[in-house]
């Protein structure tokens, strides 16, 4: 309720303020309204930039490790009745798009 009231109040404040200057200072309008607390944006930018770099480094290491390991193919299972269910043709034909994947590499 109080949030709604404060929202109304800021909307009223907006009405009194002259609209415009979008081309000159488009980003001045971007003040955080829903944030839990106000932070210094310079500081936050630097922090999240570092966190992003850290994330990218971690992901790169993991990717290299994963891609260098290769993978194995499991043996073909017996024909259980619930496997490979086909009730009608696909729009492009009788087979799935990647059906031959087990044989081509």
């Amino acid at each position: 309720m109080s949030m709604m009231r404060s929202g109304l109040r800021s909307a009223c404040a907006l009405l009194r303020r002259p609209v415009g200057g979008a081309a000159g200072k488009p980003l001045a309008l971007n003040k955080r309204r829903f944030a839990s607390s106000a932070h210094d944006d310079e500081y936050e930018t630097a922090k999240w930039e570092k966190l992003t770099y850290l994330g990218i480094a971690t992901c790169t290491i993991l990717s290299i490790y994963h891609l260098s390991r290769g993978h194995e193919h499991p043996p073909e299972p017996p024909a259980y009745p619930y496997l490979h269910i086909r009730n009608k043709e696909f729009p492009w034909g009788p087979d799935g798009l990647f059906e031959v994947k087990k044989h081509d590499h």
Binding site: P26, F34, E49, T52, G55, C59, Y80, P81, Y82, I85
Partner: protein, 273 residues
Amino acid sequence: MMESIRHSYHLVDPSPWPISGSLGALATTVGGVMYMHPFQGGATLLSLGLIFLLYTMFVWWRDVLRESTLEGHHTKAVQLGPRYGSILFIVSEVMFLFAFFWASSHSSLAPTVDIGGIWPPKGIGVLDPREIPFLNTPILPSSGAAVTWAHHAILAGKEKRAVYALVATVSLALVFTGFQGMEYYQAPSTISDSIYGSTFFLATGFHGFHVIIDETTSTPTLITSTLRPATGYAVLSIFTGMAIAEIELDAPRTNTVWLAEELRKEKRSVSLA
């Protein structure tokens, strides 16, 4: 005319795009159904509908850009619109994916007699959670960190950094999609392999689709920001309005979805009775 405005809301001019978008969506849906059932001309109608829809998106958003940058209609009150829109979209996605988790839990916690009463059913190659899922799990939070970086960079008035940050966001999402594609390609089972395949690929597939939506919505923003800074930064600010809503609601959700997916991928066999 402008003198008579005494409120901060944007009352839009008449526009053909809502009806053209509706017709495009109708053609896409009907064409899609016709394509999936053996009807003549389904593929044609589907393609035409998609083209019509993409064209509508282009011209409609072009108008929105003009209304914001040239006509200055995007007041504080108007900017709340896309934000609430994003929040509603994310909430609907949460409910959508909740249904898939329900389906998955329903099928796995008491497996039916038809699949032998065990989970995973025999013959289903279960993906190893320590492989690609383990790799993709840190990629999504990193993408979230990058979009948070973009958000703060815009608030701090550093547009260049914001563009770099968004490039990082989208690149990480693309890498995620790439690995997901690789996992699907290498996966030993498919969506037509028992209820396991159905629930698994429906849920992970829609999650991947969600990531692709994020990519396609942020890429035009990036291109405009790079090519036409004056227009682009206005788009950027609209976009971040949406992105903030996304981060606040989506980051915890994405992590939950992803963790739960990992759990699902783990080998679990429910012993019979």
